[in-house]
Symmetry: C2
Subunit: 361 residues, 2 copies
């Protein structure tokens, strides 16, 4: 593998993140004013603003703008930035609804939206009623985020040609990620050794949604042809798989001081990852039974979790997943060298690939 | 009030309903094939197809096509029919999510989507786990219906001028109905005598969403100017208010054999309708206390419901709401005579107004 040449004019990813955040901020300020005019509760836009501005790596917007550069564009960036902001708004929708489905209590170090709203409306209600209301309100705020992702898109001032290229990609991306989540959701609580199923979830829920489609969207805005889109897929899909496999390992073995989240949740939830499916496939009967007993137990202790980790490691599943990550990562880098993209964009993609796979957070 | 002239060429609403159903049917057949190609579970499209083809009055599609005719269009109807089908798909999204938020067990005489999916995935799971999974799966199928409403819209072959007129209306309509539902949801369980709040919910959740915006969308597709849109609003808003007030009365007093749904849910849920708010405002203390005890009790018996109905009737709230319905209905008809629309469209609007308000289903 030859290193990409150093950049004369590197893409300023920090600026992309700042600009996207600023578009979201302005949009929500406008929405808050509209809500006040309609005499609607301010908590909707406030909650969404808190959620969107509290953090997030803005990975999809960054990839969208990188895809745009990769296809050779360097003109007026206003439309691509607004499409990128629309992706981030859509992602807020995904996370808010996922947290409801996963019954999660925290996200980005804060209470999840449904927990926040259950607390806000607790007064005079039973816990069950407040929880149910919190869930309903979070579903609606997620729905609004999806509708507003469309509004951002509708106000991106795309040319007719851009719309024709971009809207089908948006439609496909949404269907893919929702199906991926559907597979993931309906697998929960049914621990199997079905590695293929776990890899299909990764492919749709992460590789396509997080990496491939954002790159495609930016590239399509810049007028990329089918050949470039296919070359971007060759890079994006193995990278996306590796990214999620790394996430699965961090979910079980990660250092909470680095990741900012507990390494117990995936085990307690009995998350049906490729790591777990492989471990169940390879474990001798007694250890497989022990694992099934531990996984999905919401009261799993740290000591029990440590036993589970040792069993998973002993089956060879961890090192096998590490080998898959390395293989996929290298395949992505090899494909990257074949893509006829601008060197600055290639450098960004290489850097993103490394941080996505070799991270401990 | 002068009766509208009889029609030389009446709009064929039955044909509109058939065509919209056929578009939805074809779209979902295509989606089912896509799902099979992606090796995704068939239950998503099957569930949505069962829901969409099981019934529904297709009121919004019919109003959309009527709005298009009202503005003088009678050319190629393919785009307006596809936009109309998109409205029906959006409505499926609304109903599926509303049923989750309202904890409803039945819809259109069948189990609701979340109940159906909880049953389907019950095997090997606790009731709590199956219910939670059913809810999550219903949220996702609703999300897909919203995304697919967009896809129908994106594939309607609108001209750039049509898109410019139609998309902002779609965005506004979605925000309005979601805010209306948010107001409704967060009011649940806090029974008040606040009639204004109940009327605001009606205005956003029904009058604008069900009547005004579908008419606007069709008219805008046909190139209607601001004056015609405003005239349509003058007709649509009082009619929409009357339509929902009728619904509120049917929710409490309706005959389940005609309406296809229980007349217990609104009482058990403690739905904060204008009818209930008025009853609480007018009831003597003892009866108001009795009502508050009954309303929102999920285990309310038929006998207790009958007592609640008698109290509400005795306060005069029911006849006051009936008077409001008559007044709003007549205002709508008066405004209808002022709108410069095609006689065939005016006749349809008058007929729709009558069936919307004078129905028992």
């Amino acid at each position: 593998m030859t290193a990409q040449p150093l950049l004369a004019e590197p893409l300023d990813l920090a600026a992309v993140r700042t600009q996207v955040t600023s578009i979201l901020d302005h949009f929500l300020t406008h929405k808050a004013k509209e809500a006040a005019d309609l005499r609607m509760p301010a908590e909707v836009t406030e909650t969404l603003r808190d959620f969107l501005l509290a953090g997030g790596k803005r990975l999809r917007p960054v990839l969208c703008v990188t895809g745009w550069h990769a296809a050779g564009e360097c003109g007026d960036s206003a439309p691509v930035l607004r499409v990128a902001a629309s992706l981030e708004m859509f992602h807020a929708f995904c996370l808010i609804h996922d947290d409801v489905m996963d019954n999660s209590d925290t996200r980005r170090g804060h209470p999840t939206v449904h927990r926040t709203l259950a607390l806000r409306h607790a007064g005079g209600r039973s816990t069950t009623a407040a929880d149910h209301l919190g869930t309903g309100a979070a579903i609606l705020i997620g729905d609004l985020a999806l509708a507003w992702a469309d509004e951002l898109l509708h106000t991106s001032h795309l040319t007719p040609a851009q719309r024709t290229r971009v809207l089908p990609l948006i439609d496909v991306m949404r269907t893919e990620v929702m199906y991926g989540q559907y597979l993931d959701l309906t697998a929960a609580g049914t621990l199997t050794s079905d590695v293929d199923r776990a890899l299909a979830v990764i492919r749709y829920k992460t590789a396509k949604y997080t990496i491939e489609r954002p790159l495609h969207l930016g590239a399509a805005l810049a007028g990329a042809d089918a050949e470039l889109l296919a070359a971007l897929s060759d890079f994006a899909l193995p990278l996306g798989d590796a990214f999620q496999l790394r996430d699965d390992i961090l979910g079980v073995y990660g250092n909470p001081h680095h990741t900012g989240k507990t390494n117990l949740d995936d085990l307690r939830e009995g998350k049906d990852t490729a790591l777990i499916a492989l471990a169940l496939q390879h474990a001798p009967c007694a250890q497989a039974d022990q694992l099934r007993l531990f996984l999905g137990n919401p009261n799993l202790t740290q000591d029990q979790a440590e036993v589970a980790r040792r069993i998973i490691t002993a089956t060879g599943a961890r090192s096998e997943i590490e080998a898959m990550i390395t293989e996929q990562f290298e395949q992505a880098l090899t494909c990257l060298q074949m893509i006829p993209v601008e060197p600055a964009a290639a450098e960004v993609l290489r850097h993103l690939a490394e941080t996505a796979v070799r991270r401990d957070t």
